[in-house]
């Protein structure tokens, strides 16, 4: 497959994301650095507030893209994605808080170690279980992730259910001190992830991923070993999920078993499906849409008749219902549905072709 040029829309979006903290700062008259109080910074003002929102979107975007690589492009359904996310987080947390390493080495080893551990877990899980068919693989990954969740929920060393706080971050990285720096770090990681996954999927390896998704038997009939390629997909997906986990821990300065909870499997699944399975921008659009909706609705209070409902209480329920509706009504997600609609318009204006193919375009 021919490597396509990056469309100018992406560049435009990238430039606006780089300028974003300053644009918000200008529009609201706040400082992109927060407010100085003595020699410390207080994260107050619209600009830093919005930086936090976008940082979370980037994180969730990375997580969703990594899930989409496994589920959307390779067609492997895993219910244990949280395992990678959480173990990435725990690794860096443990190194920062529970070892004698100085902060810089702890950060470096935490990053490398977290990613390596995720790769190792992906390899092991893949090697022992990828020969299991669809449903069984989903069960297996769910069980393994749940096992780690229970284990870390009871492990006294890491303060069990309560988890522990990260106290030992350098000022330049600390999102409560230098949020703008952290914003650009996460943005960079986000962009790199996007470009990497796009190149990977458009490479010959990616072509095999998609062949496996369409028909595993046929892929192996033309000489590719599906197990090898699924292993590659799940390992790479796992590494990126761990990256998201590491960034999340730094952002919240907190490590706890909730990082391993099923939430971090469901969220990327949800975002991928809502945005569009097997598309490049789908997971990102899903992540942005859901997170923005979340921040917008969280504070809302809806009154129907005499009953008052705080949206925050029912947010997860609402999300679940949206999820079910999307699976039923728009299984192609936002991007997929849009591409279908566009393809149909093109087809209507040109002579009809024989069989309809699922649309695969550069989105």
């Amino acid at each position: 497959m021919k490597e396509r040029a990056i469309p100018w829309v992406f560049l435009l979006i990238l430039v606006s994301l780089i300028a974003f903290p300053f644009i918000v700062a200008l529009l609201t008259g706040s400082s992109p650095l927060g407010v100085a109080r003595g020699d410390r910074m207080i994260m107050r003002g619209e600009s830093v507030r919005w930086q936090a929102v976008l940082i979370e979107i980037f994180l969730l975007g990375i997580l969703a893209m990594s899930y989409n690589l496994i589920f959307g492009f390779t067609g492997v359904i895993s219910f244990g994605h949280a395992l990678f996310f959480g173990m990435g987080g725990y690794t860096i947390g443990l190194l920062l808080e529970f070892t004698d390493l100085d902060t810089t080495s702890a950060l470096i080893f935490g990053l490398i170690g977290g990613l390596a551990l995720a790769a190792l877990l992906g390899l092991i899980i893949g090697l022992v279980s990828l020969r299991l068919q669809g449903v069984y693989f989903a069960i297996f990954t769910l069980a393994v992730a749940e096992m780690f969740f229970i284990f870390f929920g009871r492990l006294q060393l890491t303060r069990a259910e309560d988890g522990f706080a990260i106290t030992d971050l350098p000022v330049w990285l600390d999102p409560t001190q230098s949020r703008l720096t952290f914003y650009y770090i996460v943005l960079a990681v986000f962009v790199l992830t996007f470009v990497f996954i796009r190149r990977l999927v458009n490479s010959p390896t990616g072509a095999v991923f998609k062949a496996i998704r369409e028909n595993e038997d046929r892929a192996s009939a033309i000489g590719y070993n599906p197990l090898t390629y699924k292993l590659i997909a799940i390992t790479i997906g796992g590494v990126f999920a761990a990256l998201a986990g590491i960034l999340q821990v730094i952002l919240n300065k907190k490590v706890g078993p909730e990082l391993l909870s099923v939430t971090y499997t469901v969220d990327p699944l949800l975002m991928t499906i809502i945005g569009g399975i097997g598309t490049f921008t789908g997971p990102v659009i899903g992540a942005s849409g859901l997170h923005l909706l979340d921040t917008a609705l969280r504070e809302q209070i809806v009154t129907i008749g005499s009953t008052t409902i705080r949206v925050a209480d029912s947010w997860s329920l609402l999300l679940g219902l949206i999820f079910i509706a999307v699976v039923l009504i728009f299984p192609q997600g936002i991007v997929g549905t849009w591409m279908r609609w566009r393809a149909r318009r093109v087809r209507l204006s040109s002579p009809p072709k024989g069989a309809e193919n699922p649309v695969q375009a550069d989105h």
Partner: protein, 237 residues
């Protein structure tokens, strides 16, 4: 036999499996009381034609009339209830069910099996002896007999039988042939059969399906004499 009184009319059906266009225009009629046979090479679309009639792979276009009723859009159970019995290829009997249960499950009204028992055991005496055995423990020929017997339990006016002779010994094939011949006194039969000798002995009418299309239909006695035609479509002499 009156060719102007077909029990089944298949008219220009197109069937897709997934995105593959499998049947691209199949048409033929089955006269009441006849044995008709669908011929064609492996993968020509004979099984798909039977499944299209049953509604198991519903056609996207075309019409199928059974006794004046349009079958298009009806669910398989509904089509079966109109009086069509389906004997699938590869003897798809229920292996984990006993012979008795295999027959009982085909009842459409209570007492069907009791009423038709005599006919069934008359045609296939072996089944009586095997009544309590699991379907999976029967031999290939016995399974085939069970599969046909299962279609005889309710009052069916048309039987669709897919390659009954597949993988069976000549002696067994003889038995099956005489059973099918005797059956045709009571119901109309549409047969799919690769064994040309068997097909030519049993059927009065044929339709050749080639590459998803009905190529030619006619009376069996004409076909037997037309070696060029046989050679061209079936590759047998």
């Amino acid at each position: 036999m009156n060719p102007t009184d077909p029990i089944l009319t298949v008219q220009a059906i197109h069937t897709f499996i997934g995105q593959f266009h499998i049947l691209e225009g199949v048409s033929f009629t089955v006269p009441r009381g006849s044995i008709s046979v669908l011929l064609g090479r492996n993968g020509a679309g004979k099984t798909t034609t039977l499944k299209s009639i049953m509604g198991m792979t519903p056609p996207r276009e075309g019409t199928i009339l059974f006794d004046g009723q349009n079958l298009i859009g009806k669910r398989p159970y509904h089509i079966a209830q109109l009086g069509i019995g389906y004997v699938p290829e590869h003897r798809a009997i229920f292996k984990e069910l006993t012979v008795r249960e295999n027959l009982e499950i085909a009842e459409r009204k209570r007492g069907d099996l009791a009423r038709r028992g005599d006919l069934i055991f008359d045609l296939f005496p072996d089944l009586k002896r095997l009544y309590t055995l699991l379907g999976g423990n029967l031999s290939g020929g016995q399974q085939q007999m069970l599969a046909i017997a299962r279609a005889l339990v309710p009052d069916n006016r048309l039987l669709l039988i897919d390659e009954p002779s597949e993988g069976l010994a000549p002696v067994i094939i003889e038995q099956l042939m005489s059973a099918i011949e005797r059956l045709s006194a009571q119901t109309t039969i549409l047969l799919v059969e690769q064994n040309f000798r068997m097909a030519s002995k049993l059927a009065q009418l044929y339709t050749i399906i080639d590459d998803g299309r009905s190529a030619i239909s006619g009376s069996m006695s004409d076909l037997v004499r037309d070696e060029a035609l046989i050679q061209r479509y079936l590759g047998v002499a």
